[in-house]
Symmetry: C2
Subunit: 242 residues, 2 copies
Amino acid sequence: MRNIKLLLEYDGTNYVGWQRQQNGRSIQGEIEIVLKQILQESVNVIGAGRTDAGVHARGQAANFRTETKLDLLEIKGGLNGLLPEDIVAHEIEEAGLEFHSRYSAKEREYSYRIALTPSALLRNFSWHVKYSLSIELMQHAANVLIGTHDFGSFCKANSDVDNHSCIVSVASWEINETFLRFVIRANRFLHGMVRALVGTIVDLGRGYISFDEYLKIFEMKNRSEAGMSVPAKGLILEKVFY
Amino acid sequence: MRNIKLLLEYDGTNYVGWQRQQNGRSIQGEIEIVLKQILQESVNVIGAGRTDAGVHARGQAANFRTETKLDLLEIKGGLNGLLPEDIVAHEIEEAGLEFHSRYSAKEREYSYRIALTPSALLRNFSWHVKYSLSIELMQHAANVLIGTHDFGSFCKANSDVDNHSCIVSVASWEINETFLRFVIRANRFLHGMVRALVGTIVDLGRGYISFDEYLKIFEMKNRSEAGMSVPAKGLILEKVFY
């Protein structure tokens, strides 16, 4: 038995998300179909982050167990030859049998891109915000995320996770002329957390809520208090740390 | 009579190019259809660069003459409301009646992106090169472009232009881990020039031709001597200078 680790990039625009589903093409499903062809064996591909429909990845990590005798370059070549152009396997390596891309991950990093003017070239990779925004307030809002906090207010209501505590090590806004980019790194992310956080921070940045109200939303630990979930297309899973 | 100037961004992936054509949707055609709806008048939109099918623009300039009394913000709002998402009007302004987006342009700047590994996110905005490339040689090749030269070897054979002299003010390669980006600025570009230049420089960088052969291709002034035309999707019209 071998355990093989993959580093994947994908454009999530045309997928129902990472996870195999009945209602459409998923990243996991596409990779499993191609691996079955290459390995002549059905495998279960585990992803570090179960990205939602329309969410992208520059550095998703995944692993699968297999009995194949094919060498790694043959598998990688087969994957990139057979996968659609919007999914690419960048790296492949042997992992210890105990390695689990989701449970072994120490941290994950996501980015979210806001376009300050509509963008033709990045329309599938950014969310256009029309409001004028206080970057200073939004940076303050990011700063208070650092550390260990309960993110219950930023977790999808239908989530069955009880523990909402996350340890955030990086949270900051990068700014250029026409785009804002939020980068956040944490040991774990609750379902929908980044998109609810960005929605709430934008509410603050545009003056819809005050900083005190922003802090109170945290204390509520209740998803209905937070801002709207911003569109999936601006979100990229950048990297998984082991 | 008014003469109105536009600054446009577009994703050329799904178009037959800038220019109106019988065989499919063009950028010019889309803009003219929308302007007719807004202005209740047929206008001819002139673009600074007639980008080919699949070529993109971050800063295409265009102009049109109109009798409309609508103010600029109404026209811009109408354009961005009615144009497809892959064409955006970023700026609109009144120009002097003598202004002609193509003939008045002093310089144009293009970029060409090469992906060193296949890219899922930038697959429509880069060309994946599998060869290992000498960046040093390619930078030398860029350096000799600066100044006034005859680019006859890099002009599409069917072009009816007699004068092949161009004045290049910027030509350089930007490098990061996974992409190379060629930036070139000149007073004018011959049809197919950037793509033929990049193809020839890549031939040099991968060792298929020597530096002497590269220089000789220039002297030949014969398109059949140069390298292949690289794919349109890596090319972006960045800016037009007036």
